[in-house]
Symmetry: C2
């Protein structure tokens, strides 16, 4: 989709990491938890309004990210959601959680008050791992 | 799965409505918004850990519920999530939202303070519609 653009609010909240087959991958700037935001390249606004094929592809890619968070980053629990009440563009949250993390057991939205920024080295390392383990295409950051 | 049991906390928070092919369907007792809770008959705890086939089936059933909420109940937006930090049994939230509803645009979890109960007539009517439009099997309420 040549003219597809990620909403500025999503790019403000996340580091652009690269693309899977359907979804662009952003990493929430708050490094307290591994919080990925997948943006499927579509104009449809609700995950459950996608065609069966695209919906399955989007959720399959979320499952790849979830597997990465669990096995490579060592988190035992995934919170998965598609909300989009504030930013209308379709985006999927895939968040690693652990018992005792800074807002456990509350959902992260509106409750994650602790803040830490990623270092450039951390971003490069995560991107490298995602390229190797999840077939991420690490494009120019937007 | 003969010995499958829905967690008491989910049954306390929701009216048992019936079953789709994979998922039991509960309706959150708070009638302020149409808030369905789908419980796939599995022992797996995270949606994104299900096998590809079961995950697709669960999300397909969530999409059927979302379509019902939009077209029959008239809500323009769906919030979809699988969290499970408090109740570990896998369950999917499919929630109808509308601009100006009692906690718009916040997510419902922890933010929906308004409360209304369903009447028996409302529950019967919703169940009847789900049987007709979503192929729900309306089992004995648990």
């Amino acid at each position: 989709m040549a003219d597809f653009r990620i909403y500025p609010q999503l790019l403000a909240d996340g580091h652009y990491i690269g693309k899977l087959r359907l979804c662009h991958v952003l990493l929430h700037t708050n490094a307290v938890l591994p919080w990925f935001i997948l943006v499927p390249e579509t104009e449809v606004l609700d995950l459950l309004d996608l065609s069966d094929d695209l919906r399955r592809m989007a959720v399959d890619e979320a499952a790849v990210m979830a597997h990465f968070i669990k096995t490579t980053l060592g988190y035992h629990k995934i919170n998965f959601a598609s909300i989009g009440n504030v930013v209308p563009q379709l985006h999927l949250h895939v968040v690693g959680r652990s018992n005792g993390d800074p807002c456990w057991p509350a959902p992260v939205w509106g409750n994650l008050l602790a803040v830490r920024q990623y270092s450039s080295a951390e971003l490069d390392r995560l991107t490298e791992l995602l390229v190797r383990e999840c077939s991420l295409h690490a494009l120019e950051r937007r």
